[in-house]
Amino acid sequence: MTDLLKNRRLRDNVLQLVFVGGIALMLATFAVTGKTNLDAQGLTSGFGFLEKTTGWRIGFSLIEYDTSSPYWLAIVVGLLNSLLLGAICLPMATLIGVTVGVMRTSGNGMAELVGTLYVEAFRNVPLILQLLFWYALLLSLPNPRDAEPILGGIVMSGRGFYFPALNVLGSSVVVSLFVVLGGASLALWLQAVRWRDADPASARRERRVLGGLMVALVVLAMWLGRLPETGLVSLPELRGLNYQGGVRVAPELMACIIAISVYGASYIAEIMRAGFNAIPKGQGEAGHALGLTRWQILSRIRLPLAIRIVMPTMINQYVWLFKATTIGIAIGFADFFMVISTSIVQSGQTLELIGILMAGFLIINYSLAWVLNRVNDAIRLRGSQLRI
């Protein structure tokens, strides 16, 4: 018996069997109990309910949706809202974060102080509290009637922000979005298989051709989708009690955008600072010795190096930031999570909906991480380019 216990392979196999068996047993218990409970409540499991009409409204939707729409459409609306939030917040957070990161490593005492104040103020307060704060602040803005347009037609009111917009169909905006995304993926792919080893001049020429093609396609899509008998740009105009024209951004969406961008930026700023500090001092000094200006040193030497250093950390940060968009439920922004939880309450199809929720987040986050990892592979420094 003791010999058996001392046989390492046997012991390892038994351990693994126990581990896998334990997890399988747990999952089986879940499945069996779930099935019993479903039967007891008289609910039918399966995804048939997705075709039923929802009967409830969604506050904010990018596509056509009303109370007679089926569940799957509601879920798509929520998903699109989440993606929209992510697509706005991630670049905004990056922009603010990189700026603050540059400020904190600029060598100017005052800029460093402002950057530090920013990071400490926004990083040490929970996101949900910041969100509620911004929401309360936005709601306390004046009525549309009393709000004055600023900066070429932007109106800030308690019922939302109004921005000037192009007079085009929504579908051509979606097409343009896909053109840009497709072009960016094509560029990444070409970078990996073709441009990396190609002659720099011809690579540059091909990049320009690709860029020009993308711009032409976007302009074409906008032109085809223009609304007849209207001007090119629609400005928000006060009619009666409210503004007409332009694009209205609801306070819920605006609060989410501000809170998540500002909060995310404070983390990205710290990552960027660490990246700047990791660059060997000699790199900047060499630029200085060559007579480059401070702006040139920053834009040509320090920033490109820092971006490559922080890229792996940044990928995690982006995934984390996208997960943070679920916070919208706190103020009633109809994101993916909120639509799913409302559906659970309304339809009772708990397990299926939670499955959809988890699958949605896994797919989005894994693809986000996959794309960013490809970006990282494409721009990563090779060999002895960076000597630390």
Binding site: F30, N37, N108, M110, N124, F133, S140, K323, L362
Partner: protein, 360 residues
């Protein structure tokens, strides 16, 4: 003796040189400095004006608040008990206060390196947590029993944070060890579990544990919603912390484990005496960062419907009487969180500097 420069003049010289280098090196620098200084002064001025100069502090100042543009701190002076203690019975709120202070002391003590070993730290936390629980729950030493449903405010936030840390940390160590196990099935399944949970938002995990789990758990295992949410949060914490610990382990030179093996140490000796202590040392700054994030995100339970400090703060300004002063309550809550997380993150930064000095 006469050629010694008086210290004050020398100081002045250094100061002016340093000032010029840091703030007024070039024309651009001067412009940037002045612009940012103006910005800081403007924000600071407005903030002080709002928060102190024009503010109303007295407890019965509701009417006075309408006369001024400034902050209405009356809502805090009037309703601070609701914010801090929630629905906890009024006469017993001293217990809640002492319990919170106990936990803060425990957290402060665990920052002392003297406690950093496998015996003292768990002992400190378990005894601290037990006294917190006994004080809050009552039923012993003549204290009236008060069920978890009546807990609220800051005490509930602290309770959730402490419970998550206490359950999550051992779990994280186990997860990290399982993930780097040499047995392929165990390490692969563990990697899958950790990566999956890490790519889900905390809110969905809490939601699942609060609302979905009762559906698939056998009756005896359902328990109270509060404890299910805590376990879900602890699981989430453990997955993140496990990766941090694993990072600390990977930073160890391979020779450490090989030497231990060569000396004939068994697995538990290797892990307990060689690997984990050094891995924790490597992973200390990100670990503290993780605790800071965990404390902040405790506030998410308010969405699931618990009466934590966020919810009680909103309740304090939720009545018609004080609904106009919601911003003031948010600022007060922000200050509470800021005090906790700022001191903890400063401590983390200090630790990071200290550790990096030792390594150089």
């Amino acid at each position: 003796m006469t050629d010694i420069v008086p210290p004050i003049a020398r100081f002045r010289e250094v100061l002016s040189k340093d000032l010029r280098r840091r703030y007024f090196a070039t024309y651009t620098d001067t412009a940037v400095t002045l612009a940012f200084a103006a910005l800081v002064l403007w924000v600071l001025w407005g903030l002080l004006d709002w928060a102190i100069a024009d503010a109303v502090f007295s407890a019965d100042g509701r009417e006075a608040c309408f006369q001024t543009e400034g902050a209405c701190w009356s809502v805090v002076t009037n309703r601070w008990r609701i914010i801090l203690f929630g629905l906890y019975p009024f006469e017993e709120q001293w217990r809640s206060a002492i319990a919170c202070i106990t936990m803060v002391i425990v957290i402060a003590l665990s920052c002392l390196p003297w406690f950093w070993n496998a015996r003292r730290l768990p002992l400190l936390w378990i005894s601290g947590f037990a006294s917190f629980y006994i004080l809050m729950r009552g039923g012993l030493f003549g204290l009236t029993p008060i069920s978890e449903r009546e807990w609220g405010g800051l005490a509930l936030t602290v309770f959730i944070f402490a419970a998550v840390s206490l359950i999550g940390m051992p779990l994280a160590i186990v997860f990290a060890l399982l993930r780097r196990s040499s047995l392929p099935w165990i390490s692969r399944i563990m990697a899958l579990v950790i990566d999956t949970i890490r790519s889900l938002p905390l809110l969905t995990i809490m939601f699942t544990f609060a609302l979905v789990l009762p559906f698939v758990l056998p009756g005896w295992a359902i328990g109270d919603t509060l404890y299910r949410v805590i376990i879900g949060y602890a699981l989430f914490f453990a997955c993140y912390q496990a990766e941090i610990i694993r990072g600390g382990m990977q930073a160890l030179p391979a020779g450490q484990e090989e030497a231990a093996k060569a000396l004939g140490l068994g697995y538990w000796h290797r892990v307990g005496h060689i690997i984990l202590p050094q891995a924790f040392r490597n992973a200390l700054p990100p670990t503290i960062n993780q605790f800071v994030i965990t404390f902040k995100e405790t506030s998410l339970v308010t969405i699931i419907g618990f009466f934590d400090v966020m919810a009680s703060g909103r309740a304090a300004s939720g009545t018609a009487e004080w609904s106009f002063a919601v911003i003031e309550v948010y600022v007060f809550l922000a200050l509470i969180f800021f005090t906790f997380t700022f001191s903890l993150s400063r401590y983390g930064a200090h630790l990071e500097r200290r550790l990096s000095v030792g390594r150089r």
